[in-house]
Every structure is written in C-alpha cells, then in structure tokens.
Subunit: 345 residues, 2 copies
C-alpha cells in the first residue's frame, strides 16, 4: 500500500510499504477513505532533523473496517468509522474520567509499530474502544465534517470544554489555524457570547466570524494584548483558548487573561518550561489547562450534531489533494496558502 | 509604636516608628491584638539581600478598629475585626468574581506606604471592603482560630477550593507546614475521603492526621512519588495541593498527579519558569491553578464554622511570643522548632 513518511524538515514522501496486518486480537485494519494534514504535522515539517529515521505520518481518518481481531466488539467488517487521533481502550479508569488520550493501553498513530493515517490502510489497536461507527449511507458531502471529528474540531472543542466556555463568558482564541477556528465554533456552541479571535489572515478570520467570532484582533504581542484589554474594558478575557503551541502565543495568553481566568491550551507546546510564577499565572490566580484532546469522549454528541446539520466543522478544509500529492498538501499548509488540506486516498 | 522590619536575610528587628495615620477616607487604623509569622515571611528571611532597604513585615492580624475614615461603611471604632492578608475594595468586578487578591484597588501590607502587621497599629486601606467584624465578646481561646482566618487556614482552603476537593477524590497535600495542614483540614471539610499528606516531621503530620489526613508519606522526590503512585493503585492523585513554593515540590506535584487531575498551588512560587509542556502537564491534561488566596471570599463561612466550634484551624499555632521577641519567632519557624508562631502585642 501507499503510506506517507517524513525524512526530515520539508521532506515528505509517499512510499510503497507492506499492508498492515492484525497483531493483537483487539486490532482492526481500516481502509482509509479520507485523511488530512494536521497543524501539529507542521512542527516536525519545520524542525525534524534529517537522517535519523523516517516518521510515519498522519493521525486523522475516516474509513471502512476491513478486518477485525477476534476480541473486537461492536464493530463489523464494512462499518464506516471515524478514528480519534489517539487510540484507547475506552474502559479503564482514566478513559472513564474522560481522558482517553492518557489511556495506559492507548497510544498514537505513527509511533512504535502502529502506522500513520496518511496511507491506504492502517492498523488500529484497541479498535473496539477507539473507532466510532457512522450510520451507513451517509452523504459524501458530510465527509469533511466527519473527518474533522477525528481531531481538529474536537481539539478546539476540548479547549473550550476544559475552560468551561459558556454564557456570560468572554473567550479569546489565539490562532486562526483550523484548530483555533474550531475552538471558536465550539465556544459558540457552548453559549459564549463574546468571542475575540486573534489572527491576521482575513480569509481565515472571515471563517472565524462565520463560526461565531464577534471580534477579530489582527495585532500580535503587546499591541494585540492592549487591543484585547481595551475590548474587555481593561479586565481581560475570562477564557483564553491557545491554539498555536509556540511561546509567543503563551505570552499573549497570560497577557490577555482576566484575573481568576483560564488559559486552555490545545496547540502542542513547542516548549517544556514556561512562566507560571507570580508575574504570570500565580499572582492573578490563573488556571492553566488543556492537553491532547480526548476526542473519544466528545465524538458521539458531535457526530449527532454533524448528521443533523447543526454544525459544519468540515468548513476548515479549504483544499483537497490525493494521497499521491501529500507533499504538496504539507507545502500548501506550511506556506499558509491552505488552511487545512483533506486527502483523498 | 513598635513595628517589625527585616533588613536582610536573618535580620529581623522591632523598632519604634510614628503611629500610622488615616490617609484616605476609605482607610481605618487597627490596633493589633494578635499577629503572626507566615511561612512566606521565611522566603525573604532566607534570601533577602542586605543593605538596599528595610521591609515592613507581617500581613496577618486580628485587632480592634481605632479610627475610621469618613467613607468607611459597615465598621465603627471599637469593632473587633479580622483582616485578610491583602486589602481589597470587595465591590469591583474582580472582587465580585471572588478574586479579591487581584483587586485593582487592593494591595499588600508592608508595601508602598502601607505598614506591616507585626506591629502595634496598622493602616488598612479599603477598610470597608477588607475588614470582617467578629461578634463582640468572643472567647479569647478562639483568637488563634480567628487569626488563622487572616491567611493560613483560608490559604489552605483556597488550594482545596480551586481544585474542587470533594467526595470521591484522592487529595495529596505536599508540605507539612501550617498551610499544608490547613489544606488537609479544608479538603476534609469539603468531603475528600482519601487525603495523603507528604511530610516528614512527625509532630506536624500527627496534627495533619488529626485534621483528616488518611495517609502520610515521609519520602520525598522520586521515592515519595513512587509511594503515592503505589497508594493510588498506580493512577496518581486526582488533586495535588502544593503548599511549599519551591521547585522540588512542583516536580513532586506533577509526578503524583493523575491524568486529567489538578495541581493547585498556594505556596508562593520561588521560581517564575517551570515545566508545563508535553512531558509534565500538557501530555496528561493536568490543570494547574491556585494563587494568593482571596481570603475575603471565604471568611464569612469560615468564621461561622470557627464560632460554632466546627473547625479549629488555630491549632497550627504551637508557640506564642510577644512582638518584642519577633526575631525569635522567625528563628523558631525557620529552624522548624515551631510550626507557626502567634504574636501577642
């Protein structure tokens, strides 16, 4: 089959590899129908050293179950499914808490002996706990929105959920990438009235407005912070959803947050240490939370909303390429000519 | 009047200074009846450089209103009062949110032109918003517990409150100082069933058990982390209350917290940067919160509990000295021969 590998920064290739096979009785093999490139894939695309190894890429997918192990329950060959970007047993205490991305029996696509999802086929460990069935015969026009439930929309949703976005709250979203825009949509679904989107790409912030942003702040750094403080009467934002992952976004987050407020991060941090002391978080009683989204915890409700037409998170996909052209998809997203690229297989 | 000043690490002196006077119409002057030394006072006691200035010390007090400005409402001369360790107007939007320590019209004892509370008299800005009346004629045996509401108990309470300690939760408290023990008492009041106290001073952990700790872990660092993981069946603690403020306690906190759990800090951080990335907080969806306790938000309920005998937070005071001997009080706490020293004036 064809599968995508990254050999170093800027070097993404489609290669022929053996088809994956069932290894554990809890595995399934899924034939991928749509996949995509994630904002988090751009981090290694910009920084991966050449030469040490090739990384199997991709972790978002919808597809059809092709094979199932003997211990997989609730699934059958031919089922159309969405896979969360991380696999999990969905039965352990941590999963029951709603934090499936920390499941001790779970893991990540593209790591160890599990392949990536920018491919024709993928082995899904813990398939019964991981995969979510989509009713048969769903309109192909809904595929982008179903694919968005694999990661991007529910990652934005997780940020808003952890921060308890809701009525009476001012929410500032940092980042006009696909996750940031998804966070806007989720915050609006949760009833937030004032949603300030910090971003400077008009095409993207326009979609942000369509998703529910009430204000757009194009300025960055101190200027952007001053603008948000101004918009909030000098108090700052109850909630800040940080959908970038770089340190300047973190600085911006604690710069605009209101005393007693929440910074919820879903941009994968490209740093380990950050300010948390008296001058940044502690002095103002700021809550910092977020992490890899436990998509599995949110997907059933969101799937209903997609099927009912209540939300259309797939609007973040503004380009489509074939798997053969995945290198172009990375290039388009990295150069910001594409917001998010969907891959047909 | 007599007042306490710190001139550098280890150098605490009582000096004669002019009595404070009303400066703003919202001020009051309080004659202090009891004050005390705070664990946070020990940070400068260990690190303050000599020679640049003398710092006015003390921020915990009960006393009697001696004078009030013309705009102070709800108070009269002769009222017996508790002062939260920070003053605040208690009417602005931030105070109404319950974060009085971030009040834009508030501030701290011992800073600017506001004196410290290890003294005979103190000027209290924003007195109407700050001071809480105690019913007349209260038994002097209750003074230690009333004094504990100025800071120490309600700082421990804040940690537990922000972390939503309650039924079904395992709470680990890091630090067997007076704030850590107060956090144990507060978590127990909130209904936490399992409370693991990390501390190695038996006299202190014994009081921790009396306050509600179900387990004591004397080990520190990796050994302490392993012990807590063992006690929690390998899952870690839902809630960690960090009542120290030094980096090893922070490392211990994210070492023992369960995925999806909360680290609530009330030990004043002696660091600005700390690990928050994938390997510490983000990967496990840990929430980090806490800060200077908005004592004013919690004091009314706690006062009722003290007056009714439901709680006795004043048990953390194991020694009493006169103000004249405040230097000995610092020495006793710094050498850990005292848990917390109460000052008579």
């Amino acid at each position: 089959m064809r599968a995508t590998f990254m050999y170093g920064a800027g070097d993404v290739r489609v290669e022929q590899v053996p088809d994956p096979e069932l290894k554990q009785p809890t595995d399934a093999i899924v034939r991928i129908v749509r996949a995509c490139v994630c904002g988090s894939d751009l981090h290694p695309y910009n920084s991966m050293p050449t030469g040490d190894h090739a990384a199997a890429m991709g972790h978002e997918l919808i597809g059809v179950v092709e094979e199932i192990g003997r211990d997989v329950t609730g699934l059958a060959k031919g089922d159309f499914v969405i896979s969360p970007f991380a696999y999990a047993d969905n039965t352990c205490p941590i999963c029951r808490d709603g934090f499936q991305t920390a499941c001790p029996n779970g893991g990540w696509y593209g790591l160890g002996d599990v392949g990536g999802a920018q491919a024709e086929l993928v082995r899904v460990p813990q398939a019964g706990g991981t995969l979510v069935k989509v009713p048969a015969g769903v309109d192909e026009a809904l595929y982008p929105s179903l694919l968005a439930l694999s990661d991007v929309y529910l990652t934005g949703y997780h940020a808003a959920f952890m921060a308890k976005a809701g009525a009476g709250k001012t929410v500032t979203v940092i980042g006009d990438g696909a996750v940031g825009l998804s966070a806007v949509l989720a915050a609006r679904q949760m009833g937030a009235e004032r949603i300030i989107l910090m971003g400077r790409h008009t095409a993207r912030t326009d979609l942000g407005k369509e998703f529910g942003a009430t204000d757009v702040v194009a300025e960055r750094g101190d200027e952007g912070i001053a603008k948000v403080m101004d918009l909030t009467g000098g108090q700052g934002s109850h909630i800040v959803l940080e959908a970038v992952g770089h340190m300047p976004a973190y600085h911006q987050a604690y710069g605009v947050v209101r005393a007693g407020g929440v910074i919820s991060r879903v941009g994968v941090p490209q740093y380990e240490d950050a300010p948390v002391g008296f001058g940044s978080l502690f002095g103002k009683n700021i809550t910092l939370n977020g992490g890899p989204a436990p998509v599995r915890a949110y997907i059933d409700t969101a799937l209903t909303d997609v099927l009912n037409g209540k939300i259309e998170p797939g609007k973040v996909f503004d380009q489509t390429r074939n798997l053969d052209d995945v290198a172009d998809a990375y290039k388009a997203m990295d150069s910001r000519t594409a917001l998010k690229v969907q891959l047909t297989i």
